[in-house]
C-alpha cells in the first residue's frame, strides 16, 4: 500500500465537479494479516484455499472492507482532503479481489451543495483489465 504523505488542504470553494484523484495499490499478505488481526475476522474464505474453492472462488479472497480501505486515505488526505469529514459511505463489492492483484482506486466529485457545504463523490476500484471490483458513493461535509 502506498503510504504517501500527500495532503490536500482544499476548502469547499476550491472543489469543482469532475475533480478526480486516483491511486494504485497492490495487496500483499502483510496487509491482509494486519487487517485480520485488527478486525478479528477469521472467516475461512479469506484464509483457506480449499474452503474458498469449494465455494466457487478462484482462491482465498480479500476482505471486502479491507479492499475498500484506500478510499479512507483518498477522501481524507486528497479529495475532498484535510478539511472534510465523511457523512456516509456506500459500497457495492462487485467482484472479489485476490492477493497480489493490483487495483486502481478512483475518487471523483459528482455533486456540490454550497448550502450544506457537502460534496458527493463517486468511488471506483478496478483491476488492471478494467473490470470493476468496487463501486460506491461517499458524501462528505467540508468544515472549511
Amino acid at each position: 500500500m502506498n503510504g504517501s504523505a500527500e495532503l490536500a488542504e482544499r476548502p469547499f470553494e476550491a472543489l469543482t465537479v469532475g475533480m478526480t484523484v486516483e491511486e494504485d495499490v497492490e495487496w500483499n499478505a502483510a496487509h491482509l494479516d494486519a487487517f485480520r488481526i485488527l478486525s478479528g475476522d477469521e472467516a475461512p474464505i479469506h484464509r483457506d484455499r480449499a474452503f474458498a474453492m469449494e465455494l466457487g472462488m478462484p482462491g482465498p479472497i480479500l476482505y471486502g472492507m479491507f479492499t475498500a480501505l484506500p478510499f479512507s486515505r483518498l477522501l481524507g488526505c486528497r479529495l475532498p482532503g484535510a478539511y472534510s469529514v465523511i457523512h456516509s459511505l456506500r459500497f457495492d463489492f462487485v467482484a472479489p479481489v485476490q492477493l497480489q492483484e493490483r487495483v486502481r482506486y478512483v475518487v471523483s466529485v459528482v455533486q456540490l451543495s454550497p448550502a450544506t457545504r457537502s460534496v458527493v463523490l463517486s468511488l471506483l476500484a478496478q483491476r488492471w483489465d478494467g473490470s470493476v471490483v468496487i463501486r460506491g458513493r461517499a458524501q462528505c461535509g467540508l468544515l472549511r
Partner: protein, 83 residues
C-alpha cells in the same frame, strides 16, 4: 410524476421507508430520523431531483414538508407544470 410524488420519493429514499406518505404539516419535530445529517440528505436530494442549487439561508428555513413546497414554488417548481 407530480412534484409531490417526487418529493415523497426523496423522503422515502432518505428515511428508507418505502411506505412513507407525505403530509403537508409534517415537521422535523415529528420525525426522529430527521436529524442534521438527513436534513443535508434531503437538501442534496431536492437539489439533484429538481436541478436547483439552494442557498444556506433557504436550507435553514426548511423545517417542514410545507416549507419544502413553499421553497420549490419560489424556484418556480410546483404541481401543474409539465414534468
Amino acid at each position: 410524476m407530480t412534484v409531490r410524488e417526487r418529493v415523497q420519493d426523496i423522503f422515502r429514499d432518505v428515511f428508507q421507508d418505502p411506505s412513507l406518505v407525505l403530509r403537508h404539516d409534517l415537521t422535523n419535530k415529528d420525525v426522529p430520523a430527521w436529524d442534521s445529517l438527513n436534513h443535508i440528505n434531503l437538501v442534496l436530494g431536492i437539489e439533484t431531483e429538481f436541478g436547483i442549487r439552494l442557498k444556506g439561508e433557504e436550507v435553514v428555513e426548511l423545517g417542514s414538508v410545507g416549507d419544502i413546497f413553499t421553497l420549490l414554488a419560489r424556484h418556480g417548481i410546483q404541481d401543474g407544470e409539465a414534468l
